[in-house]
Symmetry: C2
């Protein structure tokens, strides 16, 4: 096991009716900015539930946070916070709304150009307190200190992290996910599955607690994921998926072990250039990373096959091949596509797709051996 | 899955040489009270390492915390804290030293008789900040908000909990456990194994993340536990056991699921009256609880047998019986005893042993169906 230092102070309020806890979780007398995305929370009743829970607070709203939230939109919220003296941010939504809220919380106090938090990784020294009402289970952002923001103007998508942006709390009621469109549910399943994979499918360092826990999350997300679209109002399935997605990226399973994240970093340009959903980019790229890096990931691919896909027959070579196939098949069963050509993306687009890896000089993966040339070969495998 | 609300803010600094982080983890300018047990840390070099790490702080020492720490000893430390204006408590030791430190941190500010924190469960409103250097891996106290204190005068052993007594940090270097006596190591293995059992071996509520994680911890503690006494300087074994013991009782696996804790509560009197080690009391009582409550715990005993002890053959009745036997056998392999008569405790002692359950009116177990009469039958099974 490798050395690590970590803490995660987020308070989780989980279960049916957890929204009733909201007024007790926000500090009394707070001037709240209630941040959300589009109109879906007005249709499914969550907006009304939040309004009711906030009735004793001074509340303003900011809506219109996009999927892959825009820097430009966040900066409008920053202006509103300053103008209206808000002192608490409440994110009501999924990963995009939460990530945007984390950036807003950071940019408000930042001296200098807030874009440098993302572009240059400049450290923030202070952030506004924030809380979450989770409506979409996928990114784990409700219980971590990370955020990903896109800039429309420059077609960039960049991440930052700071212990100052841990939410103070996350209200997680699985029933709030009943009315989500199937595509968002499927994306959440694949996204959270691959979050675990990025921290698990590397090379063994004999970290038994982390490996067993990761395998439990993968089994849960796989098995419940295959059921959820057929049985969308099943509380236990929703609860297991929601809690698994949170644990997939609350960063504990990644402590003391190598991490990959190459599928994530390579996938950003597929979203920026072609507008693919984040999970969709991962479903395309992960089988490529597994194929290209199979020698490096050999032992863990064999374990993944055995534990999650029950692949125990055949030579090691056969089991590795079958496991990569089963992983791609799982994403297709969830309704996602797994090839670039299914989106009309071809050979001609490869240079543009690896351009960020080249420009940023990234060496991706747990061995730091995926430069832009290797990335191009991995993209090529997924044509 | 049941509803829950929980957070755990403890910062873990884990790995070889983690002691070097100590001066950065304690707030600058703190007036530290360095609290420890007996002389073992002077012999194994940990005392010197802590002294070196604290060289820029104003430090006083308080030693002599006992196993099953005494209220009377803690109150002497409380006097010292007040007299010498200490503002930070550093516990260097295992569960006993940490639990004592948590109680000291609470009693310093308590208005009224501090014994009532334990006896009447009176809530504390403030506690001193505390940190931990862990030298013995067992109780999980380094990452939770609980403590157990004994009062010599009245032969009582009582627990309390409060979010205010979470340590601010725990420094966990697996190498610090190399020189522990085998009996303490074995006790730690059994104690942490049973901590998981208390939160796992109840009845299923379809909480997949919690169950898989608990099973991973049980496998880790079982498999590494059987190796550690033969290979005491193996870093990976020590690291896996240390991290498993922390996760066994940092309270996350117990969120959203029923919990038992009857073996713990019944075992207190074995320590108070006969001086048995805490883990030793659990090794005796758990097989009794499993036998008496097998109908209630049926499905989970079958899973425990399959996952941890690889018991997959035979009828359900046979597998349940074998699993209870394998559990007791594991404790004996670790060198613990599992019968009351091995300590000269017999029929004549039963009334005294269940007296606390009777006096406190406890209804123990996940179904609250273990009163003093049932407790007496469980003790009888363990004669």
């Amino acid at each position: 096991m490798n050395n690590f230092e970590f803490s995660n102070p987020v308070k989780i309020s989980f279960g049916k009716g957890a929204i009733a806890r909201l007024p007790h979780l926000i500090p009394k007398g707070s001037k709240v900015l209630f941040i959300y995305g589009g109109g879906s929370i007005r249709k499914n009743g969550i907006y009304a539930q939040v309004q009711e829970a906030l009735k004793d607070f001074d509340v303003l709203e900011f809506s219109g946070i996009e999927a892959n939230p825009h820097y430009e939109t966040c900066m409008k919220a920053v202006d509103l916070v300053k103008k209206e003296n808000r002192d608490f941010l409440l994110a009501v939504g999924g990963g995009s709304v939460i990530d945007a809220t984390k950036f807003i919380a950071s940019a408000v106090y930042f001296e200098g150009d807030p874009w440098n938090i993302l572009l240059k990784g400049e450290a923030i020294k202070k952030a506004m307190p924030l809380g979450v009402v989770l409506t979409l289970s996928a990114t784990g952002s409700e219980m971590n200190e990370r955020a990903v923001i896109s800039r429309v103007e420059t077609q960039e998508k960049l991440a930052f992290s700071s212990p100052l942006i841990f939410p103070q709390f996350a209200v997680q009621d699985p029933e709030m996910t009943y009315s989500l469109p199937p595509r968002q549910v499927a994306n959440g399943v694949v996204d959270s599955f691959i979050h675990v994979i990025e921290q698990y499918l590397t090379y063994p360092v004999d970290a038994k607690v982390q490996d067993y826990t990761a395998e439990g999350l993968l089994k849960t997300i796989h098995d419940e994921g295959l059921k959820v679209l057929k049985d969308p109002h099943n509380y236990d399935i929703r609860a297991n998926l929601m809690w698994a997605a949170t644990n997939a990226l609350n960063c504990w399973i990644g402590q003391g072990v190598p991490q990959d994240w190459s599928s994530h970093r390579m996938g950003y340009s597929l979203t920026a250039l072609f507008g693919l959903d984040h999970a969709q980019t991962l479903a395309i790229l992960l089988p490529g990373v597994m194929t290209y890096m199979q020698k490096e990931k050999w032992a863990k691919i064999l374990r993944l096959g055995e534990v999650v896909f029950r692949i125990t027959e055949g030579t090691e070579e056969e089991r590795v091949r079958k496991t990569i196939g089963a992983t791609e098949h799982f994403f297709r069963e969830m309704g996602l596509k797994t090839r670039l050509n299914e989106f009309g993306i071809g050979e001609k687009d490869l240079d543009a797709l690896v351009e960020p890896v080249k420009r940023m000089g990234w060496k991706l993966g747990e061995h730091h051996n995926i430069d832009w040339k290797v990335a191009r070969e991995i993209f090529t495998l997924r044509l």
